[in-house]
């Protein structure tokens, strides 16, 4: 088995709150500089920039297809998928639960450029990605699972948009596959103890909205090689794969 350092929650410029400099080449460059073996692109309520980042990464870096769904309770649920097609199919369902933006939206929430592998804007997303969908937590987790993905309770340590902060409890019945801690929780198992009680693996991700945040928190994945199937095994603790205590 090998150790793979992964940052499984990185935004691109498509997310209205992310830096517009978060283009596919910039993200891949930062991940390689940080010596990450795997990242996941998780924009708010959309997977439209995933394929562009994967194209830039080529064989140099494994880029998982992801999406960060905002539930009706304003909890963030990260979905990680086997490929861009699955993520985009899930994204289409999520998009059907969003409103179209109005004239004031981009000024207040930010721009939503769809980018190609060179970082050029090819379209502007017109769905209001910054807002909540009409899916509740259980429905969001079920949607991710229906598309073959892993559902992660995003930044559960944070009061804003974490499931515990929003709901006041951890929704065990929702069926999450893992919980994610933000970079604000210091490294070390002693700081994870209160989040390990749910019986789920604890991931650490940067939730990067700016290039300097890429790799600021990372998960140690013990596996044969980086990739979605290996991560799935590690999250479930199967066949010698596991999530480390980094």
């Amino acid at each position: 088995m090998n150790v793979c350092f992964a940052d499984l929650h990185v935004h691109t410029a498509l997310s209205p709150c992310a830096d517009n400099a978060m283009t596919p080449p910039v993200i891949v460059g930062a991940a390689l500089t940080e010596r990450l073996g795997m990242i996941a692109v998780c924009d708010h309520n959309s997977a439209r920039n995933v394929a562009a980042v994967q194209e830039v990464a080529g064989d140099h870096l494994v880029v998982l297809a992801g999406m960060e769904i905002t539930t009706v309770e304003e909890c963030h649920v990260v979905g990680l998928f086997a490929g861009a097609a699955a993520a985009e199919a899930a994204g289409a369902e999520v998009g059907a639960c969003l409103e179209i933006i109005d004239d004031a939206y981009e000024t207040l929430f930010g721009e939503q450029p769809v980018l190609d592998a060179d970082g050029r804007e090819t379209a502007r997303e017109r769905l209001a990605l910054a807002t909540a969908t009409s899916l509740d937590v259980n429905a969001a987790v079920a949607l991710v699972h229906r598309h073959g993905g892993l559902a992660v309770a995003a930044h559960v340590d944070r009061r804003s948009f974490g499931v515990i902060g929003q709901l006041g409890f951890f929704p065990a019945e929702a069926g999450f596959d893992a919980v994610e801690l933000s970079r604000h929780v210091p490294a070390g198992p002693e700081h994870e103890a209160e989040y390990a009680v749910y019986g789920l693996p604890v991931l650490r991700s940067s939730d990067a909205h700016h290039v300097h945040d890429v790799g600021a928190a990372r998960t140690e994945v013990i596996c044969e090689r980086p990739g979605f199937d290996e991560l799935s095994l590690a999250v479930r603790g199967l066949e010698g794969r596991r999530i480390g205590d980094a």
Partner: protein, 117 residues
């Protein structure tokens, strides 16, 4: 009642002194919610928002709903980037150690009502 009079009367801490234009604003409507989608859909224009949420989207949502000011309950304080965004949008922010229930009760006693009163 003027915003600055309400703030003085209820002991709010002004977090955005740079935003001076709205101090004279007449406030007669308010809204209390911690769900931003709910604020976006239902908060009254030129009203006062009482909320526990302190993240950046609060500013975008309150500005989009054309609210006059936001009061953070329970002594919650936003980060500097949130304050800067509020100043840029001309939105006044206040903090209060009181909880939402008490803030709303005291606002009501001053004549600030909900949309359907």
């Amino acid at each position: 009642m003027k915003l600055e009079d309400i703030a003085r009367e209820l002991g709010f801490t002004e977090l955005t002194p740079e935003v001076s234009g709205s101090r004279d604003a007449e406030i007669d409507r308010g809204y209390a919610s911690d769900l931003l989608s709910d604020v976006l859909a239902h908060a009254p224009e030129d009203g006062l928002l009482v909320t526990l949420q302190v993240h950046l989207n609060v500013i975008a949502v309150a500005s989009h709903a054309q609210m006059a000011a936001v009061v953070f309950a329970g002594d919650r304080r936003p980060e500097d980037d949130v304050l800067a965004k509020a100043v840029a949008e001309g939105l006044s922010l206040y903090s209060s150690p009181a909880d939402t229930f008490d803030i709303v009760g005291r606002l009501y006693a001053l004549g600030v009502k909900g949309s359907h009163a």
